[in-house]
Subunit: 364 residues, 4 copies
Amino acid sequence: MSGNSIGQNFVVTTFGESHGVALGCIIDGCPPGVELSEADMQHDLDRRRPGTSRYTTARREPDEVRILSGVFEGQTTGTSIGLLIENTDQRSKDYSNIKDLFRPGHADYTYQQKYGVRDYRGGGRSSARETAMRVAAGAVAKKYLKQVHGVEINAYLSQLGPIKAEAVDFEEIEKNAFFFPDASKLDALDEYMRDLKKSGDSIGAKVTVVATGVPVGLGEPVFDRLDAEVAHALMGINAVKGVEIGDGFEVVNQKGSEHRDLMSPEGFASNHAGGILGGISSGQPIVAHIAMKPTSSISVPGESMTAQGDSAEVVTKGRHDPCVGIRAVPIAEAMLAIVLMDHLLRHRAQNMEVNSSTPVIGMR
Amino acid sequence: MSGNSIGQNFVVTTFGESHGVALGCIIDGCPPGVELSEADMQHDLDRRRPGTSRYTTARREPDEVRILSGVFEGQTTGTSIGLLIENTDQRSKDYSNIKDLFRPGHADYTYQQKYGVRDYRGGGRSSARETAMRVAAGAVAKKYLKQVHGVEINAYLSQLGPIKAEAVDFEEIEKNAFFFPDASKLDALDEYMRDLKKSGDSIGAKVTVVATGVPVGLGEPVFDRLDAEVAHALMGINAVKGVEIGDGFEVVNQKGSEHRDLMSPEGFASNHAGGILGGISSGQPIVAHIAMKPTSSISVPGESMTAQGDSAEVVTKGRHDPCVGIRAVPIAEAMLAIVLMDHLLRHRAQNMEVNSSTPVIGMR
Amino acid sequence: MSGNSIGQNFVVTTFGESHGVALGCIIDGCPPGVELSEADMQHDLDRRRPGTSRYTTARREPDEVRILSGVFEGQTTGTSIGLLIENTDQRSKDYSNIKDLFRPGHADYTYQQKYGVRDYRGGGRSSARETAMRVAAGAVAKKYLKQVHGVEINAYLSQLGPIKAEAVDFEEIEKNAFFFPDASKLDALDEYMRDLKKSGDSIGAKVTVVATGVPVGLGEPVFDRLDAEVAHALMGINAVKGVEIGDGFEVVNQKGSEHRDLMSPEGFASNHAGGILGGISSGQPIVAHIAMKPTSSISVPGESMTAQGDSAEVVTKGRHDPCVGIRAVPIAEAMLAIVLMDHLLRHRAQNMEVNSSTPVIGMR
Amino acid sequence: MSGNSIGQNFVVTTFGESHGVALGCIIDGCPPGVELSEADMQHDLDRRRPGTSRYTTARREPDEVRILSGVFEGQTTGTSIGLLIENTDQRSKDYSNIKDLFRPGHADYTYQQKYGVRDYRGGGRSSARETAMRVAAGAVAKKYLKQVHGVEINAYLSQLGPIKAEAVDFEEIEKNAFFFPDASKLDALDEYMRDLKKSGDSIGAKVTVVATGVPVGLGEPVFDRLDAEVAHALMGINAVKGVEIGDGFEVVNQKGSEHRDLMSPEGFASNHAGGILGGISSGQPIVAHIAMKPTSSISVPGESMTAQGDSAEVVTKGRHDPCVGIRAVPIAEAMLAIVLMDHLLRHRAQNMEVNSSTPVIGMR
């Protein structure tokens, strides 16, 4: 399996460049009998879609997904599902100015050195535009997980630059353009972003993703532990520089007596572990955080180099998100859904006959 | 491929329980013609080995590795390499007291629920004892990477509880039992650990791992980006709760103009990215940090549950590390080496003919 | 990796049903810098295409393939290549008569039992229509193999029912509608097929595929030996019931002194082995044969069963090949090309530094 | 996954050379709760073991397998199972005469060219000695398949040179040293082999393997069809040159009306398909045949070449099977068991909820 696939039993493979003809994806291993239509995916695609608020890129793509196979009479058939989104907003603009220029903080230089050739239009394959297909595939996983196991997956922006969410109100998340769970900070966010846009700069962010209702037992030690697989999926999102499970880096200065989640027949007393013990889901909510770097596509001039090895200065103009962390919210949900789905299938492949006599406990 | 394998072209598969007969591993895909003997692995095994200082578990295992195949007349032959470490210190102790007891913060409960049965002796497969084989396999990768590409991989303890390394002196790391790079903090560490042992508690830690000399171009977007794969490998180490690449979670409050690494024909001006751009190595040093939780094996009593679902209290006695982060240092090196080795092979499979005309730059 | 992908470093994943919206495929791992256009694939697609002669199905599909990604300015970029063929000839016919009927010798019954649901229109995913995408992907592999290593891959119909090719003239193959290499048998074939069509029955066939110029060293023992991988790829073509490498089943009554291919500095004296020794290509031509069963879509009535478990009689009407072996010729070439391409990349991942001092020999 | 692993959810990875220290294997993905001891594997190992009759090699290896992990208190725990067989009969003989000599029909030349180095002692990794571990792993699969689904897997020698089994009496197979199912031919076999040994030559053979009780639904189209996977596993056995499913190459001259297996509520009327339709098991017996080439290790002199590229003559002396097909019988069973086991797990990963309302039929 090469790098454009993820999963083992529920496998998602994608293709597509930012300014190419289309984006596409194949989902292989989806259980049969799941009711599925384009509408199931469109909601999350719309949440990820550019042009939905003044704080995300102004590029307008309807991002309409089409199901090309694997669904018959409204149900999945167990065969591979082909999905397609055509790129409509490919402005026939002139790229000659960036053709031979490496933007600092971007993948231009590394793609050129790896492959010797690159599609420089809008970042080509390295653009976050490809995550549209991840969101579509993730929506299929989300639907199955919810229907069959009652799993709910929700992400939100937990921090934008210096502004942290202090309260987490899940009802609030979908009500604002930031996916921010703390309504008391919305004005501050607004003001911060307005100033940022004026300065032509960008800002980092932290996204938190939570899955509830996950059955006990998912994860395949020792290498494909659930936490390792979640880290793989989340760190694989463009611009992510850090992943935490549960308390994450706070554990560095925690004592064992403080960190371990005590348990009793009534349930777990706390969830420092973030729902994963020994690489296996514990039945508690799975909690992960990711750090999103500020985009390097800014109008602040920066020192750079050409493909020929000459000095150059870069100023990025055009349609770019000042905080890519915002649109990462539905992407993080999708990636977690894909991992959980794959591990649900992997788990039951091996452990279908298991009937543990130990009672399942939840949070107290 | 199930959960006990890691890698695609350089594949490491392991087996073995804490108190079983032996630990073993198969390395598949190692290039032929590499000089290899047990001595090449023994050095790192000794660094990881328990019983080497008073701050790690007192369990004594010689951890002598034997090469069973794949090496002929001192050279790898390209066939699969079998490695074996026999467990010698299997005290025939009585485990009846923990047989039906779930230690909080451990994998006892999740293994029981996943498999319906578990080897409760010393944690069985969930014990960090299995990482001995990772260290052995990692030593093979390290040797090849160094010989063929001059890659150097070094890890160190960057923080233990409240004590942070403020200076990083690579010479210092191997001179103290903490793998700590800042000699000025050694007395403080000593004192901290002495108090900790008295209290019967444990403490978290942060480990940093750095690889220099990594060629440009490693990493397979979009899912097997190098950062995603590093995150997978490092989060898969027992007790790890967070992974950062480069600036990690500091990016949440960074501006784009501050984060992006400017570049010129003379090289990169900084390394906030930690050596990876767009999921592909940039030729700069690869820098990753991991958060290690405090072990839950402490003598402080804790509320728990039995396999039958009754309340119980747990007090862990016996040989345990008060800070598992210390011994994670050689393990982190090994995991990074395995990932880089695998991606070196994956990269050249596809890109052998690539001859980029763009000059390779390093750090200024 | 689930069942709709083939390959490890050169990975082909397909989707699409016989009467669905479209067929598609993703090629992941293709080396960058290969000149590629739709025209490179169209030739083989046309060879496989139905409706090209009166001995193949009358269904008319233009089978025009479109490249959706992975190619920029006429060259592959190393990113995943998306391919699409839209189904145009989806007669809006009434399928109610076969909806609940299992055609004997077809996959209707097994798909129903495996998935609980099936797309019954024209066989759905089990139709050989999906092989169009294999042919498209195979054309990419063929092009690379030829350009970089001078590998030539050619298949032909070596037997149709009782009529065997006694001479093999590669020039002849593309001149007749049977891909038959022995011009002296063409009249006999014509007559045989005319009678067969009248009878409403179908006939089996044998296809031979030969690759020349394959470098020494491809194949990954012990499980992914080249012969095992070729067998996997060829047996995976619809209707194939047997695969032979070299002398195949003739070896059952051969002596060792007769079978082994003697060798000398001047080359191999014979090629009973079919170009593979110990699971690794020897540099001799790779020769494989496949047995194609007669299609079960015939107008001869047959006893069957309904989805509800009742007795039924089946008579297949409509557009069907009386000998599916004919159109299997380009498919067999494609599958061998995909396997060789994948193994070329796998081989060089591990063995790039190998410089055997032993001279390479060919056939005498 | 590199070439020394087979399977996706039930993964077997092996190591070991003919004259190395030991052979070993890791089974990953075995369901927990299976009663398992060394005795379960020893029976098949003894059937495969050399030195059991005067018609197989005189090399004596006790082939005692040890379970090193993954089994606790007599049950599998779901963790990876480590198996080991130490090589005891490593005669410290002088190999200098074959060190630089390529035996025709062997893998000496191809291993040398692929890897640049090879373990020449007894064929190293290319020796069929490695199949001992396949037999051990296969025994685990056989046990599970039998216990949970009542699957029975039996192979036999269906032809040795010119002598074909005309009757198939499964009771007879284990009663003679040839695994031959037709007692009326035993004298002829005896005489044939006596003459063959005198001549110093070897002979090919055909082995048939049958699995009964296989559930409907196993196999993952379109590439990992069950027939494709069986072909991969069987063609991957040393010396195999052909694989047939059901009627195999006989289909080349069959009519559709003759080949298709008619079906009714009472069951299938015939089994030309060999139990697989559309790449998915039909519930009928799975029937496969393999062609085993005559070993090239014969005392008849043969023209060859040295590693330096000089002419040479080869005469193989020592302990060799005149018909390697005989000992292939338990190996074929093991490989079929491994494939079925893996596909059982793969199938239920995706299709656990499927409840087809169509009745399951068997053979009439």
